[in-house]
Each structure stands twice: as structure tokens, then as C-alpha cells.
Symmetry: D2
Subunit: 306 residues, 4 copies
Amino acid sequence: MDYQAVLEEVAAHARPYVRQGRVADYIPALERVSADRFGIAVADINGEVYGVGDWETPFSVQSISKTFSLALVMAQSHGGHDSIWRRVGREPSGTPFNSLVQLEAENGIPRNPFINAGALVVTDRLQTLTGDASTSMLHFLREESGNQDLAFDQAVADSEAEHGDRNAALAHFMAAFGNLENPVPSVIEHYFWQCSIEMSCRDLAVAGGFLARHGLRADGSRLLEAREAKRINAVMLTCGTYDAAGEFAYRVGLPAKSGVGGGIIAVIPGRCTLCVWSPGLDARGNSVAGAAALDHFTTLTGWSVF
Amino acid sequence: MDYQAVLEEVAAHARPYVRQGRVADYIPALERVSADRFGIAVADINGEVYGVGDWETPFSVQSISKTFSLALVMAQSHGGHDSIWRRVGREPSGTPFNSLVQLEAENGIPRNPFINAGALVVTDRLQTLTGDASTSMLHFLREESGNQDLAFDQAVADSEAEHGDRNAALAHFMAAFGNLENPVPSVIEHYFWQCSIEMSCRDLAVAGGFLARHGLRADGSRLLEAREAKRINAVMLTCGTYDAAGEFAYRVGLPAKSGVGGGIIAVIPGRCTLCVWSPGLDARGNSVAGAAALDHFTTLTGWSVF
Amino acid sequence: MDYQAVLEEVAAHARPYVRQGRVADYIPALERVSADRFGIAVADINGEVYGVGDWETPFSVQSISKTFSLALVMAQSHGGHDSIWRRVGREPSGTPFNSLVQLEAENGIPRNPFINAGALVVTDRLQTLTGDASTSMLHFLREESGNQDLAFDQAVADSEAEHGDRNAALAHFMAAFGNLENPVPSVIEHYFWQCSIEMSCRDLAVAGGFLARHGLRADGSRLLEAREAKRINAVMLTCGTYDAAGEFAYRVGLPAKSGVGGGIIAVIPGRCTLCVWSPGLDARGNSVAGAAALDHFTTLTGWSVF
Amino acid sequence: MDYQAVLEEVAAHARPYVRQGRVADYIPALERVSADRFGIAVADINGEVYGVGDWETPFSVQSISKTFSLALVMAQSHGGHDSIWRRVGREPSGTPFNSLVQLEAENGIPRNPFINAGALVVTDRLQTLTGDASTSMLHFLREESGNQDLAFDQAVADSEAEHGDRNAALAHFMAAFGNLENPVPSVIEHYFWQCSIEMSCRDLAVAGGFLARHGLRADGSRLLEAREAKRINAVMLTCGTYDAAGEFAYRVGLPAKSGVGGGIIAVIPGRCTLCVWSPGLDARGNSVAGAAALDHFTTLTGWSVF
């Protein structure tokens, strides 16, 4: 597969979709990003990386970090990795990603680890396991991406905290059901720091390589059992793109996780990990040009999990 | 009407219901109250008070305070008293009293001022109007009841705060919709102080007299316009007893407001205000013996708004 | 009280509201009614009737019939009148009047007898008790109103049936929960016939007199025990005006039942029964000018249940 | 791959799960099936079939038919195959499979074609396209399976109709939103006939071969475009096992469709189609032993889409 040629064709196809949708504006730090940006990168399972456009420009990972917090919790729970699943479900949410309705109906157990409530529970668990849920993630991402310059964006984290009433509501609500181990302010703070990490398409495609390598890290050591890596992919496919997971599976057919910074990572198990970025979002919070690019990538390559 | 004789007959009728239901146990300070207690008082519109049983024993007013915070906000909003109604509705909630579902569906506007979310909005408004939402209420209650010993119960307020995640969730959630004027911790704190006020049946029946006197205070001065007092009674009837308001109207037929401390105040417009107390609660949070007593009172007197 | 003078002032006050709102258009037979119409009538408990405007013009009673079906079921269930309350609740619905959500959450038990689902259950019961739920109601209304010309409007009943998928859904849904005694098509048919009855403000005010007379019929015989009549008034107040019952209680403060034909009946217990009619409806299905008229009536007379 | 050996090992693994769960009992015809049965079959893409246990015993396909009705509608809508997606969504339902809540919130558009409401819409469309939505499916299944003896089970269809109030409610409700083209009774009848078809594991594995062959029928002709077949697989994975689709994807990782008769078909794209049958169902309506068998099949073979 000539990845470079494919990516160039994909970028050309996606170009008309750039600037479509709407840049996230709930915090100023995200709103300032130019809607014009578009980048895409592929990292194959041997560590080769290809990219076009703004593939080396850092952006705010936002909810893509939820994939890594889940992986780290599963990796650090050897012999008891199922425990997180007593506190968070694995079913698509069926309602917009911040919904409190489901949480109330199901006694404080979030439907899955990729809605905000679920990610707060996972972050809480990671905090307990590591003592620092955000720094441990940052160190992991630096190692996997090979980019020691990765850092939090303090302006983004502060801005999220300032506008964080909804996440505070979710966390207090779960605390009321006894589903948090650490104090609400601490959990929220680490969650916002995780979301604020800045990474490029290149960084994310490389750092997510373990998902395509059935759990093996960049250095060949094992992060997750093969069945655990497969299972994260399954959760990505059914829950990774907010309330559009069914539509995304239908169109693209790959495990993927999106963020409101405009990034989407996707996995072709056994082959490669992709990351695409363009800040314009559709009504459900997924990058418009990013989804179009992944759709076209699967059309060109014929690769899909189905 | 020989109130004393009626109250004695009512108390005899209600006696078998005492110890039925379940004393509120979500905070230790409430759990310690003996389930055996029962008291009832009537204050007629001329200021005469009658009582039987534990009618002079103070108990935690809890949600009964919601009636007074609403009255105080309406009283202090002359010429613009409708403003609170842009931030809180007047419809029965149709779901258990802490529900977040409705709040989400209706963009952070609570259905009515007597569910917790609505009372938080009213407290927030009272805080803005008076600078101290809990002390201003305490002073008002001392004046109206004529009992200068009324006080907050610090143990109750602290205990509520310790177990206050659900109310914190509600407050943060409304803040996310822009429906709070003051900081969340301040609103919650004043709300808990209001709930912690200790009053007896006597105190509450006397302090609520303005509802039977079409808005006139104990000293004859006007707190509310007649139509405002009437309207608070309407909201009490349709929303005052949690998710059992329809049932309560059906059985008792009086405007009423209950609290999880086991108290219920009820109004017979133009005649008198009642307060009954017995700590055992039914599944919807209303005093079992208290409801039975009010039911029997209306049967004996033939008084009902219908 | 000079009713005639009051009604004239009320009509003058309500006039600007006539033509506001929107005439029900879900069936052609209702859509054809002129939005210009306005009438109001009062029947005092001695049988005197007063009216202004189009108070003698028949209109489609629609949901006002739900009051009479409930009364007839309660009247015919002597000694066991509570049985209907095992199949239908007494709580305000908290959601738009046709909602299926609540019905699903509460196992096929409608929240109250005045939402469509609840009225279908009441009609089903009346069908079992009388063998003909619509004709028995028509005969009762003829007797109470003294107008032997009252009749069904076949065009309306047929039109409702043609557009009756939502009511059919409700009925089948309750049948799935075992909450209907008679076949779905039969229950729906009688329900539509009841709604199609044509009556004037005069007819309705007179026919509803038993609600103001604590259960006594026009001829002085007893239809309902006093407490039963009081209880129907309570249900009217908390549930009689769709999802606006709280608002209606707040503004008007009277037990009332509205219909999408533009009529509203209201009760002042011990004094009189009113009926007002004007076809323009607000967003919740209540007559705009009708509500304004009742509001003004209570302001002028100072009569309210609160 | 020695399919026969794998199936035998899978059957041995699944054996302890047989008789677990509960046989569907909402209609007598299903209740009569012995809980002891277990069969599994695999049809590879070349038409070879393997099986163990009761793999040749016919059972009621029930909701598995939803896969075929969707495929037939997509196949007969060349050039305009997207039209069905204006009338039914592609998102997991997030609530139990018969829920009306979502349908109301989303204006009569079912969330996906595999919940009952969605399948009624697909059946309605197939009825319009073919003139006979049940017979056209039966003929297709006979041809694909090569078994001309396939037939409806009239007792099952009649029994479903007798207990069909909930489906009638769904259909009337969607008709009220204008989302049915044919009369409600006709749509329901054809839907019940489809569900009543009796097939064995062998029949279903062979008949579903087009899903593994990227749209090619048993005779090599094209039923669906490759992307259409892939998309049906995507919908099966995200929505095929009622409210347990996320859990099923997590555990098994294959596109699958279950039925309350105890059957489940699953697809390994490019390789084979499986069908497993055992009547004991878990709380969400999926065969307990069937899910265990598919789980073990993927463990043994290492085949998964992830």
C-alpha cells in the first residue's frame, strides 16, 4: 500500500469539507483555532509514519484522551481488569454525550467510558491507580509517540475549569451514587488536564499504535493482552463518536474516537492507526472533514472491519 | 369551631399511623429523631393558636422552608415579582423530587419552586436580593412566629453539606445553563442553612399565617398582595408534596408543603394555618401520620378548598 | 352578585384575546369553526343561568367530556368506587397530554383520568358498567342540561377516527399491559363519540352543576357523595388543563377542564359552575380568551379556591 | 481451519450454558420449545456447511428476519437505496427493544431497523416494493438456503397477532407521524409472518452467506453492492443484539443478529457466516448458550473484526 499516495488522494477528497461545520466555541482557547486546518497521518504497525497537510501541527486532543485513560486503567489492572466495568458500562449511550438522564435512570453508572461521565469514572480510577491521572497519561503519550515535547495546555485546562459546571454536575451526581473514589474537584481537574494535552496527527497515530498491534507498545513490550486491545477497539466502534457511532460505523466501518478539538483517531487492526484533524464539527461534535477523509480512506483501500 | 376538640380527635385518629413509614436517614442528624413523635397545631387568622401532642417540640423544617423563601422573594420583588418565574416554572414535576431529567429537557429551568432545583434558584435570587438568604429567612421566621429563639441547627447543615453531592450536581447543572446568579458553593450553603432551621408546629403554624390572611403579616402589615398569597397557595396545592401532590389534593384538598423532617404545613385560606409533625415518611417523602391527620381534619370540619 | 354585569365586564376584558391562539386543526371538522366566537355562561347552584356572547351556540366538547365520564364511573361504582384508581393515577402528567413515555415507565397505568390514556381507561370502565359508554353519557348530559337536543356530531367522530392513530397506539399499549377490559376498537369508538358531543356554554355550565352542588344533580337527587364531588374538583385543579395545570391554578385558581374545541368549564364549589368558549388555543391546548375570561372573573369577584 | 473440530469444541464449551436463561414465553408457540436444544452451523463463503448438535432442527427465526427484510429493501432500492434511511435511523437504541420513548422524542423515526419499530418501517417499505413483504422474504430464504421446505408457522403468526398489542401500538404511533405507507393491520400481519418463518442453523448460516461474500448471493449473482453488505454488517454490530450490542461487540466482536426464538446469526466478513441456536435467553433477549458459543468460537479461531 502506497500510504503517501492514498493520503494525498484522501486529502484532496476531503478538502471541500474543510471549513464546513463549526469550530468548538464553548471555551475561548478552542474557538481561536483556524477552521482552515486539515491534516492526516497513518502509522503502520512497523512504526512507519506518513502524513499530509497539517499533520505535524499540535491541537487539543480533548476526548481522544478518553481512549488512552481507558487503556491505561485496563493495563494497570492485571488480574482484576474487569473492576472498571462494574463502575461503567459498555453500551452506546443513545443520547447526547453529556446527558444526565441515563445516569439517573441507571444509578450513577455511566453507559460507557467515552461519554464524559464514563471518562470521569475512568479518570477517577486512574487517579487511584497512579496517584496522578493526568501526568501518568502525559508520560505514557510522550513515550509512545516518541515526542518528549508533548505538554498540557494550561490555558485550555483553565478555560475548561471555568466553564466546567456541567462536568462538575456529572461528577457530583456520580459521587452521590458512591461511584467516585477521589474528591470531585481532584477528578475534574485531572480530567481537564488530560483533555488539554496538545498533540499532532503524527503524535496521535503513533501513540495509538498499540491498538493496531493487538496491545504491543512501540518498544515491543506488552501494554494490553490481545483480547483487551480488541475490546477497546470494540468500544471505540460502538461508542467512540458520541451519538453518531452507528452512523460512523455505517459510513466508515472502523473503530474510532473523536474529540471536539477536531481530531479523530481510527484503527485498522493488524495494519495501522490513523489520525485526522480538521476543527469544523458537525452537530454531534465530530470533525466534518475528518469523517469525510476516513470514509474516503476506506473506500480507496477497501479496508474496513466489516 | 372548637379547634382544641377537633385537634384532639384528629390526634386520636392519627395515632395508629405514627411510627408507620420511615424516618429520613440520609443524614445522621435526622435519623436520630424518634419515630414516636406526633404534634399538630392550628393558628387562626386572629392569632389564636391551638395544639396537641408534641406541638411545641422543634424539628428540622427542611423543605417547608421552600414556602418561605418563595414568599420572601415574591415580597421583595415589588413591581417586578414576575422575574423569578422566568427562572423557575409553576408546573408539577411529574417525577421524583430530585430528578435531573426534567432539568435537562427544559434547559436548566426547574419545573417549580418546591423541587430542590427550583428552591436553589429561589435561594439564589433571595441571596441576590438580601445579601444573606439564610439569615434573612431566619429573621423573618422569628418575627412572624414571635419566637426569638429560632435558630439554625449547625449539625444538620453540616451533615447536609457532607451528603450534598446531589444538590451540588443540580446547582452546577443549572449554572451550566446560566440559571444561577451567585457562586454554586454559596447558594448551596444558604440552602442547607435554610433547611436546618428548627421550628415547632406552633412556630410554623403561626409563621405561615400570612398565607391564610391573604398576605398580611402577624403585625397587620402587608407582606404580599392578596393575589400573590393566593398564588403561593396554588403552587403549594399543585406542587407542595413532591410527586404526591395530586394524591394529596385528592385526599386532603388543601394547599400544603411537606418536609423530610416529617412536618407539613397546610392552609385554609381565610380561616387558619395548620402544621402537623410526625417523622415517619411514606415512599414519596411525606409524613404518614401527618397526611392522615390533615385528611381527618378536613373530614371533621368539612373544610376544603374544593 | 350581579352575574350578568360581571359576565359582561369579563367578556369586554376577554375580547382582545379572541382570535389569539390557533384553532385546532388536526381534524377538518374542528378547523372549520370560526376563531371569532366567544361565549361565557354561569349556572348558580340554584339553577339560575346567565350568559353573554355566543353562550348558546353548540361546540364540540372534546376533552371536557372526560370530566363527565369520570363522574359517571365514580357514580356507578358505589361501594367500590376506588377500583378505577387501581387502573389510573391522580398525579399531574408533567409531560404533554398525549405522552407515551410515562405510560411505559409506569406499566400502562396512565397518570390521571384527564390525559387521553387515562380517559380511555375510564371510558373502558364506563363501557363495562353501562354497556354503552357514549350513549349513557349523552343521556346523562341531556338530563342534567335539560336540553334533549344534545347529540353526537358524526362528522367529528368519524374525523377523529380517521386521524386516531395516536389514540389507537395508546389503547393498544395499555391493552399490552392488560389495562383494558374491552376490545381496543370499541373503546376508541366510544371515546371519539363522547368527544364529539355538541354543547353550548349554557348546556355545559348547567350540566356541570353537580360539581358545585357537592354531588347533587339538577333534580336534587344525589349523583356523588360530597367527598367524591370534591375529589373530582381536586383532580380538575391539578390535572384539568393539560400540561398547564400549575399555571392555570396559579392564574385562575379554580378547578377546570378544557377541551381542544375551545371550551373550558370551571367550578366555584358551593357557588356556581362556569363555561367559557373561544376556539383559539394556546400552545398547550387551552383556549386563550377562555383562560383570560376566567382569570378576570376571579379578579372581579374575588372568588378563588385559595 | 478445521471447522468441524472447532464447532465440536465450541459445543462442548457452550454445553454448561444450555438451559440457562429463560425460554421466551410471551406466546405459547415459543414457550413449548425445549430449553435443552443447542445447535451451531458454519457456512464458509464457498458454500461448505458444517454443524453440530441440533443444527438441522428448524426453529422460529423471529427477529433474525429483520436482517433479511433490511437486505431485501436495500437490494430493491437500486439508485435510491438511501430512502429507507430517511424513515429509520442507524443508531443503537440505548433502551429496551420495544421502547416507545425514543420514538416519541424523535417524531416517529425509529432509531434503527433492528428494533421492532424500525423493522415495522422496513416491512412497510418491503410491502410497497414487493406487494407481499412476507412471501417475498420466504421465497428469498428458500432460494438462498436451498431448502424449498421453508415455511411460515401459522400457529406462531396467529399467536403473535393475539399478543400483538405492543407492536400495534408502535405501528399506530408511527402512522400518527406519517411514517407508514401501508395500513397498520397489513404491516403488522406481514411482520408477524416474517417472524414466524421456521429455519435451522444450517438454513440460516447458508441463507446469510451474502453478508460474508460482500453482497454476492449463493448463485454468484449480486444481491447488494459490497459497500451495502458491509453496511448491513455495521448495523448488525452496533444494533443487532438489542440493548446488549455494546457488550456483545466487546465480548464477541462480530456483526450479529439475535431472535427471541434463541437463534443468533453472526458474520465473519470474507470468511463465513455462523448460526447458533439455544432457546434460553438472558434478560436482554439474547441466547445465553448462543452468546457463549460465539464468544468461544472467536477465542479459538482468533477471528474478530477488531
